[in-house]
Amino acid sequence: MTSQTLDLTGVVCPLNWVKAKLALEELDQGDQLTLLLDPGEPVESVPQSAREDGHDVTVEGTRVTIVKQR
């Protein structure tokens, strides 16, 4: 299991989710991806997209941790 961090501050929606999604594609099931997001729309919409894709998501402020589920 690996853990990776992606700084997506300054990256607007939906490009931030595109980058997160492509990073997830490179990972294996159970791997962890931590995203640093801007407050507002990004931190609301990116975790929602990750959940809709079936991943486990934890939000702490603007720090979002995704555990790849599929």
């Binding site: 939906p14 490009l15 989710w17 595109v18 980058k19 999604k21 492509l22 594609e25 490179e26 997209s49 809709e52 894709d53």
Partner: protein, 258 residues
């Protein structure tokens, strides 16, 4: 690592966010080569959407020149293009639409003699021709090459779209074994056509080509869709491979599914 640049991610972001789509699907498009037969009413939307979506190489074959009467339904050609070759006119616009795509115009007529040479490097062929002779030639050649094909046609207010994986699903000749004799079916010129009707059919062809190229969504195999643009009614018609199909008999053994 992903072969997609930051500019690619931004350009294709609205398709990349689709749950059905992926970086891998986008990368497959970038590596892919498509040949579009005809740059007219069906070819215009097909070429625009495939180039826009990020297909790496798009070839377009058409020997005709742009006529004033083409302009209402062939949105790749503009008034100053009247008299220019359609493949060249289309390629000029597509080059501006997506600078990442290599567009290759072939101002030639596709016939029995050159079809195999013209189509052999394509991963998918999209048939946007306006004659039954060319349509059967393209179908038979794609079967002989084992190359996936999207057929399409429009006549008046009616249209048809069919995706074909030679050796795996019914080909155009399986579905329509009797080739109409030259002149027995009215050409578009004689029958008339309204631009958006061709736009609907061409858009569906582009969609099926993207499905075949990426595998993101299964294409419409062993079926074709009939569209009645008067009522906007779509009918899915099931079809199947004919054991005695002369086109399918030429599919290379490596592409046969059984």
């Amino acid at each position: 690592m992903s072969p997609l640049s930051d500019s690619d991610l931004e350009r294709y972001s609205r398709q990349l966010v689709l749950p059905e789509w992926s970086g891998a699907a986008q990368a497959r498009l970038k590596e892919a080569s498509v040949m579009v037969v005809g740059a007219g009413a069906l070819g215009s939307p097909v070429l625009q959407y495939l180039t826009g979506a990020g297909v790496g190489r798009v070839g377009v074959v058409d020997e005709d020149t742009v006529e004033l009467s083409n302009l209402p339904r062939q949105p790749l050609h503009f008034t100053p293009d009247v008299g220019a070759n359609k493949a060249e006119s289309a390629a000029a616009k597509l080059g501006l639409m997506n600078t990442e795509t290599i567009v290759e115009p072939y101002p030639a007529r596709l016939g029995r003699m050159n079809a195999e040479a013209m189509l052999m490097n394509a991963d998918v062929v999209v048939d946007c021709s306006d004659s039954f002779t060319t349509r059967y030639t393209v179908n038979d050649t794609c079967c002989a090459l084992g190359t996936p094909l999207v057929e399409g046609g429009v006549l008046g207010f009616e249209g048809l779209v069919m995706a074909i994986k030679p050796g795996e699903s019914a080909c155009y000749r399986c579905a329509f074994p009797v080739e109409p004799e030259e002149g027995t079916v009215p050409s578009c010129r004689e029958a008339g056509v309204l631009g958006p009707v061709a736009g609907i059919v061409g858009s569906m062809q582009a969609l099926e080509a993207l499905k075949l190229l990426t595998g993101a969504v299964p294409p419409l195999l062993d079926k074709f869709v009939q569209v009645d643009a008067r009522t906007l009614e779509h009918t899915i018609v099931s079809t199947s491979r004919r054991p005695d199909c002369e086109a399918c008999a030429r599919v290379p053994a490596a592409t046969q599914s059984h």
